[in-house]
């Protein structure tokens, strides 16, 4: 009999996420990976500002909370202070792709040996549904009430594509957590991103397309459909960079 | 009686103004004196004017900033124009007469005209007009004494450039005897 149990690397603290939000799934995947790799005891996680700000309560490893956008810089400090630790950030789209763009790009450029879990749900959830750097053209939010007008608000930032052009980045993959198959793929990617760090391979980022039923204004089920129909065409899934795979095929 | 000398070195960037100041500060330190060395800094250093203020004193040094130098070393005309008036009454001015065409206008200071750049070129040490002036300064002023020069130089000549030790010593000697 298979018992569906809580990963050890998740604490007993009840998650505060909205019903249908996929943060819970992604938390679970990160925790399962920590369990499977046996790294909880030497992991240090960096929580962002945004919906996952209280991730420090949920992961059982040592945790620190960073200022908005600064998680990769904080992680850099921790990793440089003790390279034997496994250091990861868990960041949303506003945190990573707007206010923290510089920290993201430069930690990648330095091939900082950290793991970045980037949750892209195309909206600012914590503050109540404003336009994010990843909000799609035409998408209605509180601060793009007539739909994102690219002539005024500019275009979405495609983080995986962007970072794949940074020489220092070692591994960049975009996944989604909209169905079981994709969730399994997402876990594989997250596990690889952690394993890369353990192997000293350098900056690894997994962009996870995620839902926000509350601020998208749809049911959890419809949110999954919305993700599939709107986000996935704009943000195609796949491996964008894997320098070691490239080396192996050469 | 306790003694204090404030020396202002001024010239173009690249003339070794900061270096000669550092050398004299170390010379003072070696003699057990209190010293301070304060450079001008910023974009003006890039090819513009450079200066540094050195104080060598028997007593603890208050401000390292020199408003009225006891000794002005002017290595170009703009420096003389700028600082001539600030020299303390009864003070000294040493200038590089190969680069400065005019005479000092004040008559209440002692002036030493030394064709330092010419002497440097004649002796095939074109970059060491600064050290030639240092020799002159040691001869004419009692800020520091003319001994144990190698020891003081060793602080400022980097290990990579030990071949420069004797050349610098030679330049100081030229200035001292000029």
């Amino acid at each position: 009999m298979v018992v569906f149990d809580k990963p050890h690397a998740l604490t007993d603290a009840p998650l505060h996420y909205c019903p249908g939000c996929t943060h819970g799934i992604i938390h679970r995947l990160v925790a399962e990976v920590m369990d499977e790799l046996g790294i909880e005891g030497k992991a240090i996680g960096v929580a962002p500002v945004g919906c996952s700000v209280m991730a420090y309560n949920y992961f059982g490893c040592d945790m620190i909370q960073a200022a908005h956008g600064r998680a990769p810089a904080v992680a850099t400090g921790i990793k440089r202070a003790d390279p034997s630790k496994v250091v990861f950030t868990y960041q949303g789209d506003g945190d990573l792709a707007a206010i923290g763009t510089a920290e993201t790009v430069h930690s990648a450029a330095r091939r900082e040996n950290i793991t970045v879990i980037f949750v892209n749900n195309a909206i600012y959830g914590m503050t109540g549904g404003q336009m994010a750097p990843t909000t799609l053209p035409g998408q209605v939010t509180q601060t793009s009430p007539y739909g994102r007008d690219v002539n005024v608000a500019g275009y979405p930032v495609k983080v995986a594509e962007l970072l794949s052009n940074v020489d220092g980045a070692a591994y960049i993959e975009r996944v989604a957590v909209n169905n079981v198959k994709n969730i399994n793929k997402a876990k594989k990617a997250i596990k690889k991103a952690f394993q890369n760090q353990i192997d000293g391979k350098g900056f690894s980022l997994v962009e996870v397309l995620s839902t926000c039923p509350t601020n998208w204004g749809v049911t959890p089920e419809k949110a999954l459909t919305w993700l599939e129909e709107n986000m996935m065409p704009y943000y195609p899934l796949g491996v964008y960079k894997d320098i070691y795979a490239e080396e192996e095929t050469k | 009686m306790s003694k204090s000398s404030s020396i202002l070195f001024a010239g173009f960037g690249g003339q070794g103004v900061l270096f000669v100041g550092k050398f004299l500060a170390y010379k003072g330190l070696d003699e057990g004196k209190q010293v301070s060395w304060l450079p001008s800094y910023g974009p003006e250093m890039r090819g513009g004017t450079a200066n540094c203020s050195v104080i060598i004193s028997d007593d603890p040094i208050g401000s390292p900033i020199i408003d009225e130098p006891d000794i002005l070393v002017a290595m170009n005309l703009p420096s003389l124009d700028k600082y001539e008036a600030s020299v303390k009454k009864g003070g000294k001015i040493i200038l590089d007469s190969s680069l400065i065409g005019r005479k000092v206008e004040r008559d209440d200071v002692e002036v030493f005209y030394l064709p330092a750049t010419q002497l440097a070129n004649d002796n095939n040490i074109p970059k060491l007009a600064n050290m030639i002036i240092a020799g002159k300064l040691m001869k004419e002023c009692d800020a520091v004494s003319y001994d144990n020069l190698r020891e003081a130089l060793a602080h400022v000549v980097s290990a990579r450039h030990q071949d420069m030790m004797d050349i610098n010593l030679g330049a100081i000697e030229i200035g001292y005897n000029a």
């Binding site: 030497k42 992961f59 040592d62 945790m63 400090g77 440089r80 | 010293v35 301070s36 800094y41």
Partner: protein, 355 residues
């Protein structure tokens, strides 16, 4: 006693930090403090465990500092005025998480991009906590290259002792000048750091370094507790130098390079028969209130000599409870007061006091 060497103030800070056990430096170039970064870039890779990293911005640098501080290791950053504004968010987080770290500000004239010449106009920023929220830094103001070294060393000890960020508040002159330094620094104090992020090793509950607290009652409690600590620091750590204050009738207040100029002026005033003295705050926070309060009962007047539009003068007035007149003698924007200017201010204060 160690042999004296000539060092630039900025280099003295860097070397003393290394002697204090700091093995992590994060910075971003800005005049007139760049020598600190350059010195660290040269030295750190040669020391076991030494880390020098030029960050992409001052913001990133201070957050790297935050990360290292959370692991319990000694860490520092340095910058000059505009860069400290950028770091202030991070400084607030470090203070809010009760982490030890050293921030060095080699001040230049402001506001805005300002200039690059020496200034003391970040006094308010430093002593009032540069970022948001209720917090303090222990602020040390060196007045010689020797103190650039010794106060840096001390700042690391104080940071660990009180679990809080400390600041060296210097200026461009102090950073650029060379003076003899003895690198005889004394003891590195070590403190237990059970709060540090070292990995649970599956042997303890996870440590959390965090300044978020959405329950106001809790956040209030943290603030009150932190200020209890600050009270103890005000009681125990205030430092100043008193110069010719025994019989002084005019008290000059000045710190850093302004105090050096003021010393010259005090000596000159004495020659002219005016009993002048100087109180030089070494800690700007905590401000040496007791020394000023005691002086207020003895002197006729105070002169606050500052390279700003008058910031410390407020602390002088507070400390002396306005018992005696306090006048301002200042230059700003990168200018340094001359001994004559200070002397004139002393003469004026002396006249005023006779009325």
């Amino acid at each position: 006693m160690a042999e004296k060497v000539l060092m630039k103030g900025n280099e003295a800070i860097a070397e003393a930090a290394i002697m204090a056990g700091c093995r992590h430096y994060f910075g971003y170039p800005i005049t007139p403090q760049t020598e600190v970064a350059a010195y660290m870039a040269k030295r750190m890779p040669k020391i076991e465990g030494g880390v020098f990293l030029q960050a992409e911005s001052e913001i990133a640098a201070i957050n790297m500092v935050y990360g290292v501080a959370a692991t319990g290791k000694r860490v520092m950053t340095s910058s000059s005025s505009p860069g400290i504004s950028l770091k202030s968010e991070g400084i607030s987080y470090i203070a809010g998480c009760d982490l030890p770290a050293l921030i060095v500000n080699v001040q230049r004239g402001g506001p805005g991009l300002g200039g690059i010449q020496p200034s003391q106009s970040d006094y308010f920023q430093a002593t009032r906590g540069s970022g948001h929220g209720d917090y303090h830094l222990i602020v040390l103001a060196p007045a010689s290259v020797q103190e650039m070294a010794s106060l840096t060393f001390k700042a690391f000890n104080l940071a660990d002792k009180y679990r809080m960020p400390t600041m060296i508040l210097a200026d461009g002159t102090m950073g650029q000048m060379m003076e003899p330094v003895s690198l005889d620094m004394g003891e590195v104090e070590t403190y237990e750091k059970p709060w540090a992020l070292t990995g649970t090793n599956m042997e303890r509950e996870h440590n959390i370094v965090n300044s978020l607290s959405l329950v106001p009652e809790e956040l209030e409690k943290f603030n009150f507790e932190r200020f209890e600590k600050y009270k103890a620091i005000e009681e125990n750590e205030a430092l100043c130098e008193e110069f010719m204050m025994e019989d002084a009738e005019i008290c000059v207040a000045a710190f850093g390079i302004a105090s050096r100029v003021s010393k010259n002026a005090v000596l000159e005033a004495r020659k002219q028969g005016i009993k002048a003295g100087l109180i030089r705050p070494i800690t700007l926070w905590p401000f040496p209130k007791k020394a000023f309060r005691a002086a207020a009962d003895k002197v006729k007047a105070f002169v606050s000599v500052e390279m700003s539009m008058g910031q410390m003068i407020e602390d002088v007035k507070l400390a002396t409870e306005c018992k005696k007149p306090v006048s301002l003698c200042n230059r700003a924007g990168g200018m340094i007061p001359s001994p004559d200017q200070v002397l004139n201010a002393i003469i004026e204060a002396n006249k005023g006091g006779d009325k």
